[in-house]
Every structure is written in structure tokens, then in C-alpha cells.
């Protein structure tokens, strides 16, 4: 699924004139035609994903949430209510009804292979990169919130008030919708998402990041070896975020 802005850029890239201008000022050209300079880092051969081991996740730890908030600049200076504050990632603790077993895990955008938010977005602002990461193009989001109605995971937040102290890598805007970007700004530079790093630093290593398309990647091997589940697997959306020991 691609959005119109991206198609336009591709069309232009096909023409010789665009190739010339791209050579002269690649970043400027990409931005001017509505794409993001980072998108050139998206590799269609990859599919980035997370494997979250709920067995290793500490119910009292929320370092992943803090790290995401710090990295992407949400949750600071928001003075609304918890109901209106953004939450790109959140921690939940669950109790299994039949056994009474409790389990804790972070929930974020599940980066579905068939994302309902992308299907329903009227302008194509809600989009999927070639590497499977689901993002919101803040330039064409009109703030209709239909994606939030469509998301089965409550993963998206609407920015309810003017924002300050934005991070260069995660532009935000009052009146637009936002969610976990899987830290594409880091991933495109070969780094791991902030939540994964924070979990490692906290000594839990409950979140594994990697390329689901690469059979030799640690995440693929772990998925092959141990049972895991996807949230709302019944919907057939094939999320890139999977859970173990839930």
C-alpha cells in the first residue's frame, strides 16, 4: 500500500529531469514532492518487526515507554488529561481469566502487513513503507481520526493540543494523528528502536528487533523455535509485532 504522494515521487523519479535534480539536491527534491528523506532508507526486501517476550517483561518497569517518549518528544509538556495525552507505547498487565496467571507487556503500533488504518485513511496520510513500517504523513493528515476508529489495538493518538519541544526526527502537529514509528529514523541508520535499547539497558531484554524476512536474523530464528502469538490474530492482519509467553 502506497500513498499518492509516494506515487507522485516515483513517477517523477522515472523521468530524466527528476534524476538530474535528484543528483543536484536529493534531500530537497524528496521533501519537495511530499516524501520524506528517510523513506529512501526503506528496503522493500526487509520487514522490520518486534518479538516481545512477556515472560521477561517486568510489570513494574516502564523504561520502554519513557525511552519512546524521550526519543520522540511526546508526553512532555502535554497538560491535557490522560484521556487526551498521546501514548505511542503503553504498558498493560493482564490476568488470564481461566488460570489467573498474570502477565505484563508493552503495546504499540503492531505494524500490520494489512493495516486497517492505511485502508481507511481518506488522504493516504496513513501509509506503509516498503519495509512494512506503518507511519502517518503529517503533511497530509487532515485529523479525521478514522484510522483511530479502525485500529484494533488502540495504537494511535490524536494530538489534542499545540505541541512544543518537538524532536527533529519525529515532527508532530496539533490536530494530526500519530503513533509508534518503530523509530525508523534510528532503524534507517542501522540502530535499534529506543524501546528495545531501553529494555536491554534495564537488563530485561524482553524486546527483540529484527528483519522478519531474513530467515537467519535472531528474531526469525526465535520465532521459528518458540511459540508466539499476534494480538487479534483472528483479524488476519499479520502484525509485525509478536508476543511470546502471553
Amino acid at each position: 500500500m502506497t500513498n499518492r504522494a509516494e506515487l507522485t515521487r516515483r513517477d517523477i523519479l522515472k523521468s530524466g529531469a527528476a534524476v538530474a535534480s535528484l543528483t543536484l539536491a536529493s534531500g530537497v527534491t524528496l521533501m519537495a514532492f511530499g516524501g520524506s528523506a528517510d523513506a529512501k532508507g526503506a528496503d522493500a526486501g526487509k520487514r522490520w518487526g518486534l518479538l516481545i517476550d512477556a515472560g521477561k517483561c517486568d510489570a513494574d518497569c516502564s523504561d520502554c515507554v519513557t525511552a519512546c517518549s524521550t526519543e520522540n518528544g511526546w508526553g512532555h509538556g502535554d497538560h491535557g488529561s490522560p484521556e487526551t495525552d498521546p501514548a505511542w507505547i503503553r504498558k498493560v498487565t493482564l490476568k488470564e481469566q481461566s488460570t489467573g496467571r498474570t502477565v505484563s507487556a508493552p503495546i504499540m503500533c503492531q505494524h500490520c502487513e494489512a493495516p486497517p488504518c492505511v485502508d481507511v485513511c481518506p488522504t493516504g496520510a496513513s501509509m506503509q513503507r516498503p519495509d512494512g513500517v506503518v507511519l502517518v504523513d503529517k503533511h497530509i493528515c487532515i485529523g479525521c481520526r478514522y484510522c483511530m476508529m479502525a485500529c484494533p489495538f488502540k495504537a494511535r493518538s490524536f494530538v489534542h493540543e499545540p505541541v512544543a519541544d518537538q524532536k527533529v526526527n519525529a515532527p508532530r502537529g496539533n490536530g494530526t494523528v500519530e503513533s509508534c514509528t518503530l523509530c525508523v529514523h534510528r532503524v534507517d541508520k542501522g540502530r535499534i528502536p529506543a524501546c528495545v535499547e531501553a529494555c536491554e539497558q534495564a537488563g530485561h531484554s524482553a524486546i527483540l528487533f529484527g528483519d522478519l524476512n531474513d530467515p537467519d536474523s535472531p528474531i526469525s530464528k526465535a520465532l521459528e523455535q518458540y511459540p508466539s502469538i499476534a494480538l487479534r490474530d483472528d483479524l488476519g492482519l499479520n502484525p509485525a509485532v509478536r508476543y511470546q509467553n502471553m
Binding site: 500500500m1 500513498n3 499518492r4 510489570a59 491535557g80 488529561s81 490522560p82 484521556e83 487526551t84 495525552d85 498521546p86 501514548a87 503503553r90 504498558k91 498493560v92 498487565t93 493482564l94 490476568k95 488470564e96 481469566q97 481461566s98 505484563s104 503495546i107 486497517p116 492505511v118 485502508d119 481507511v120 485513511c121 481518506p122 488522504t123 493516504g124 497530509i140 493528515c141 487532515i142 485529523g143 479525521c144 481520526r145 478514522y146 483511530m148 476508529m149 479502525a150 485500529c151 484494533p152 489495538f153 488502540k154 494511535r156 493518538s157 490524536f158 494530538v159 489534542h160 493540543e161 499545540p162 502537529g173 496539533n174 490536530g175 494530526t176 494523528v177 494480538l231 487479534r232 483479524l235
Partner: protein
């Protein structure tokens, strides 16, 4: 009978006062929009859980009623009922006016209403929302053309009938699109049902006719024209049938859901344990907006019964849209089947919603825009017949 003569309503002081009142509501809505744009949606009752609020209830009611208001014209042009023919022009005008009012609310509630041009020029065709943008714009163009054809002199009646048929089919598509906004949301147990599209169509029949009856009577009273009892009672009976159809589709919607164990939770919520939503469903939607108007128009057919029935259908209709839109979001998403959430903010609980004054003013502003546009149309265009007395009605066929 005399020939049907269409005349503009006159600008009496009463008409001007009412116009002024509606303009005041529109200004209040614009103030509300400005305030929300300045501070953000944080000052409204809408949240990240209840993402669509009272403005959307107003908007959806108006959009659904818009397609239904066209029914009077369709009954005349497409189904050949001559008694409805003199009202066909105003029916088309009111349909456009209601749609404009509803769309104004949707657009003005956007997080970025300044990007309307983006919504009009950048389409994602897998989005039913984007299709609706085309359906809404197409409706205004098609019904506008249909109105012009009706008002032109010496036009082949077959052409008018053909335009009426296109408009009728388009309005069915439009309401299908509006219902599908909810019907195609697989994530939420309160929606995700194919019956939403036909349900919205029968809702539009009832709401649209009710609004048409009240607005037309209002303009007739303002301009001192006669609306015959027999015609009104006949329209009341039709409204009763439409109200019964809404109840039938509502019953099928809930019975189907009740049969599936996985939907038991949301059904118990709406039908039994949902507090305000349960009250609105049984008390306002079913009894006040369904059973009462049906009883009124069939057991005691009269002028006042019809007016009261139309009013009750509108009240019940608002409750129905409220239960669908807000109730469907208040019921929590089932993200972790088989688990209870013991820690996690707003997870697995009924989401609270208290609409703010800003949302109410915006919604009322949409109603005011629709009524102002309809009244202005009747003021400047020859769309209202001078005489709808029973003696002046054309015989059917």
C-alpha cells in the same frame, strides 16, 4: 384544481427574525470552531478513546436525513405519485441543504480543517471515507441538476424522470457509503456488520421524511400557505411505515449479534448494562422514536399526530445515531481475548464521554446551516408551491 404555482417566500419580519436566529447559531458554531482550533481538541469532550463525538452524531444525522429528504422527490419522479410532485423541488433543495449542513460539521471538526483541499484532491481509493467524499460531492451536483431540470420550463418530463432516477440511485449509494463507514470497521465489535448499510438507508427514509415534514410545514406556516390535512396524514402514514422499517432492521441487527457468542458483550452493553446508552436505546430510540410515532400515525391519524410523530422520529433518530457512534466507541476494544486487564490506563473498560459546549454549538451550527440554506433557497427560488390544500392535490395516476 388549479395549476401548481411555485413562489418564493416573502421576507416578512418573522422570516427575517428566524433567519437572524439561525445566523446567530452559525456564528456561535464558528466561534466554537475557532476556539477548538486555537486550543486543540483538548477542550472538547472527545479523547483518544471516544475519537468521534457529538459533532459526528449531528453530522451523520444530517447526512443520513439529507438523502432521505430527497425521497419526496423520488416518490414523485421515480414512483409516479402525483400528490408528491408539487413538493419535489423543495425536497431536492432540502436534501442539498441538509447535506451541506452535515458536511460542514464533519469538516469543521477535523483536526486540520485548513487542509480540506488535501481531502478534496488526495484520494486513497481503498478508503470508504474517500469514496464518501465523491458520493457527497456527486450528490450535490446530481440533485442540483435534478432541481434545475424540475424548475426549467418546457423540459421533457422523461428527462426529469431520468434525472430523478439517477438521483435516487445515487442517494442509495450515498447512504450505503455512510453506513459502511461503520459497517466496515472490523476492529470494533459495535460496528463491523454488513447490515449497517441497509440500516442507514431505512434510517434515512424515516429521518429525512420527518425533517421534510417539519421544515416544509414551518415554511408554509411562515408564508401563510395551506398544507392539507389529508396530504399530511398520508405522509404521516408513510413515516410510520419507515419508522417500523427502522425498528425491524434494528431488531435484525441486534438479534444477529446476540446469536454470535463473541458479540454477546457488546449486546449486553447496549441492551442491558450500558447505562445512558441502554436508556437511549430502549427509551428514546425504540419507544419515543419508534413505537410512539407508529402508534400516533396509525391509531390516531391527524395533523397534530403527524407533526408530533415527525418530531419524535427526529429525537429517536438522534438517540439512535448517538448509540451507534458513541456507544460503539464507549464499549472497549477486545485486544486481549481471554484476559482481564488489571493494569493499563483506559484498557478494557467502558470509555466515558461528556460532550462539551463547543461540540454542541458546532452540531447545532450544522443544523442551523441546513435550515438557513433551505430557508434561503425557498426565499430566492421558486421551489415551494403556493397551495398544498387537499382540494388542490393532483389525483394519483
Amino acid at each position: 384544481m388549479e395549476r401548481t404555482i411555485y413562489r418564493e417566500i416573502r421576507a416578512t419580519p418573522q422570516v427575517m427574525q428566524l433567519g437572524g436566529l439561525l445566523a446567530a447559531f452559525i456564528l456561535a458554531a464558528l466561534w466554537s470552531v475557532y476556539t477548538v482550533e486555537h486550543h486543540g481538541h483538548v477542550i472538547t469532550g472527545m479523547t483518544n478513546q471516544i475519537v468521534w463525538g457529538l459533532p459526528h452524531v449531528f453530522a451523520i444525522f444530517l447526512i443520513v436525513a439529507a438523502s432521505g429528504a430527497l425521497n419526496v422527490a423520488s416518490i414523485a419522479s421515480v414512483f409516479g405519485q402525483k400528490a408528491y410532485k408539487p413538493m419535489a423541488r423543495f425536497s431536492s433543495l432540502l436534501a442539498i441543504a441538509l447535506l451541506v449542513g452535515g458536511l460542514a460539521v464533519v469538516v469543521l471538526d477535523l483536526g486540520r480543517p485548513d487542509r480540506l483541499i488535501v481531502a478534496m484532491t488526495t484520494y486513497n481509493f481503498s478508503s470508504v471515507f474517500a469514496w464518501n467524499v465523491l458520493l457527497y460531492n456527486g450528490f450535490i451536483v446530481i440533485v442540483g441538476g435534478y432541481l434545475v431540470l424540475q424548475m426549467m420550463r418546457k423540459v421533457d418530463p422523461r428527462l426529469v424522470k431520468a434525472a430523478g432516477l439517477v438521483a435516487f440511485l445515487w442517494r442509495l449509494a450515498l447512504t450505503t457509503g455512510t453506513g459502511s463507514i461503520f459497517g466496515w470497521l472490523v476492529a470494533r465489535p459495535g460496528y463491523d456488520a454488513a447490515i449497517m448499510a441497509p440500516l442507514f438507508i431505512v434510517m434515512s427514509f424515516a429521518f429525512g421524511l420527518a425533517v421534510f415534514i417539519l421544515v416544509t410545514l414551518w415554511l408554509f406556516t411562515l408564508s401563510g400557505r395551506i398544507f392539507g390535512d389529508a396530504l399530511l396524514i398520508r405522509m404521516g402514514r408513510l413515516l410510520g411505515i419507515f419508522a417500523a422499517a427502522v425498528l425491524y432492521f434494528t431488531a435484525v441487527q441486534h438479534l444477529t449479534n446476540l446469536y454470535a457468542t463473541e458479540h454477546g458483550g457488546v449486546e449486553r452493553f447496549i441492551l442491558r448494562d450500558g447505562g445512558i446508552y441502554t436508556l437511549l436505546f430502549w427509551g428514546v430510540q425504540v419507544v419515543i422514536g419508534g413505537l410512539a410515532p407508529i402508534a400516533l400515525v396509525f391509531l390516531n391519524p391527524s395533523r397534530s399526530s403527524t407533526v408530533l410523530a415527525a418530531t419524535l422520529v427526529i429525537i429517536g433518530g438522534f438517540a439512535q445515531v448517538y448509540v451507534i457512534v458513541i456507544g460503539g466507541q464507549a464499549y472497549p476494544l477486545d485486544i486481549f481475548p481471554g484476559f482481564d486487564v488489571i493494569e493499563g490506563f483506559n484498557e478494557g473498560i467502558v470509555n466515558p464521554y461528556a460532550p462539551s459546549i463547543y461540540e454542541l454549538l458546532l452540531g447545532l451550527g450544522g443544523v442551523a446551516i441546513a435550515l438557513f440554506a433551505a430557508g434561503l433557497g425557498a426565499k430566492v427560488l421558486r421551489v415551494l408551491p403556493t397551495n398544498l390544500s387537499d382540494a388542490n392535490l393532483p389525483a394519483d395516476r
